[in-house]
């Protein structure tokens, strides 16, 4: 049983690490800020999620599980909001004219 759990940990943590690698490559290789933002969120959500999933069998206490899952949920919330904030800030000004009813409208209120 413990060997199965260990194998599960190795698989999940390794897969998570691959997503971190993918996120970094995207951050370095993608051509513009919005595409890079897209790459980043993969590492945020999936990479950390798989690492947390893989660590669960290695922690004995239910309190430890709650702690690990809480870390992931908080990271999801922070990551999603930070993504929205950054995307709103770097959006090219001409896009705002396509969506906003008139000029001079604040671009950040969608």
């Amino acid at each position: 049983m413990s060997l199965t759990l260990d194998l599960f940990t190795v698989a999940a943590v390794s897969l998570g690490a691959v997503f971190f690698l993918a996120g970094t490559l995207g951050l370095l290789r993608f051509p513009d800020t919005l595409s890079r933002l897209h790459a980043l969120t993969k590492a945020d959500n999936l990479g950390l999620g798989l690492v947390v999933l893989g660590l669960l069998p290695q922690v004995a206490s239910p309190l430890g599980w709650i702690g690990l899952i809480a870390v992931w949920l908080l990271a999801l919330l922070s990551g999603a909001t930070a993504g929205q904030l950054l995307a709103g800030a770097v959006r090219p000004p001409e896009w705002a004219r396509l969506t906003a009813p008139g000029p001079g409208k604040d671009t950040a209120d969608d």
């Binding site: 943590v13 971190f20 945020d44």
Partner: protein
Amino acid sequence: MNEFLLAAAGFVLVTVALGLIRILRGPGDADRILAAQLLGTGGVAAMLLLGVATGLPGVTDLALLLALLAAFAAVAFVAGSGRGAAGGATPGVAEGGTGGEEPE
């Protein structure tokens, strides 16, 4: 198993640290924020791995704290870019993908 978890922590750390090249090169401040954000998430993952591998008390709390405050750099960025121009996107920030403010 601990050996593997430590190695994984080192791998994640090296990976996200490569992203620091974006902090160095930009070109826009938003790209730098992205790199800091990635380092933050990778730091959380590395801390959880280190914490489970070494069994130190309090490391999960540390990761929790880091995840809690992860959005603050982005909030500070938006706050800073709002100062430059009253309303609307800020020049100099919007050209994050194309501007070359920092020629290498």
